[in-house]
Symmetry: C2
Subunit: 163 residues, 2 copies
């Protein structure tokens, strides 16, 4: 597999790697779970871009949430609009100190703390093409399973020969 | 969600729960990974049956492997044939002390140890209907993400209110 995101050795986001964004990630994932969405962090899209949080529900709805730890983090990201091509609903998630007027009005907006998140604005309705939805969900299934395998069998390396 | 298999509190297989089958599980998952298949253990199908190992590759091929720790375990399972309706390829996996002549000739067969597995017999070709394949892969994506969430945020319980 040439896509390292499907490699069980690739690292999912850790609290250390997320820095100040870790509480926002946690709250966002909890809020998504409460709405029936299972989420993965650091999801690499076929475009090469990495979504902070990708979530899916039992209907196959795909949500992407981009976490912004502060204004500099937001201003340095010029490519967030590309995420909208890879989901049914796109949200920014910030903490309650963030000046939310900076967030474009045509994006969803969540305000999160470490325990949950509130949706301040739903994004405009959009709908993935069926083929892209299938591809995203398959990638999510492979990525989740590979990450679990790495956790459940930490001594395994793909480079080891198997019989 | 009424399906407890998608509940992040539901337990994936642990070494303790698997008993003598744990080395077979480990070897099977390693061998599947070497073939490009990401795997989940204890995958609950929509039928209610639980597959020991469900694996998928980048083409969306779905494999189920039923692990048998010994002859009594094999003889006590009268319903293995139901798994064949939920995958493209069905295998039994046993260790090298198992009398493989007991395994039905129309099933795939792997012989595993803790480090890998060898496919002694490929199963007959079959092909899932597209709708069932999509459903299985979506369930796998949700289950994998929910299990990772439970690991990555162990204090989270779905019963806790979020904002």
């Amino acid at each position: 597999m040439t896509d390292t995101s499907l490699d069980p050795r690739s690292q999912p986001a850790t609290v250390d790697a997320m820095g100040g964004a870790a509480p926002i990630f946690r709250g966002v994932r909890r809020a998504l779970a409460a709405r029936g969405f299972a989420s993965l962090t650091e999801f690499r899209l076929a475009s090469g871009r990495r979504a902070d949080v990708l979530a899916m529900d039992e209907a196959g709805t795909v949500v992407i949430v981009e976490v912004k730890s502060g204004v500099p983090d937001f201003r340095s990201d010029q490519k967030w609009h590309e995420y909208r091509d890879w989901c049914d609903a796109f949200y920014f998630a910030v903490d309650d100190g963030f000046p939310t007027e900076l967030i474009p009005g045509d994006c969803g907006l969540m305000v999160a703390d470490a325990y949950g998140a509130e949706v301040l604005r739903e994004p405009p309705a959009s709908r993935l093409a069926p083929a892209r939805r299938r591809t995203l969900i398959l990638r999510a299934a492979l990525m989740g399973a590979a990450r679990l395998h790495r956790i459940e069998d930490p001594l395994f390396s793909q480079s080891q020969p198997t019989v």
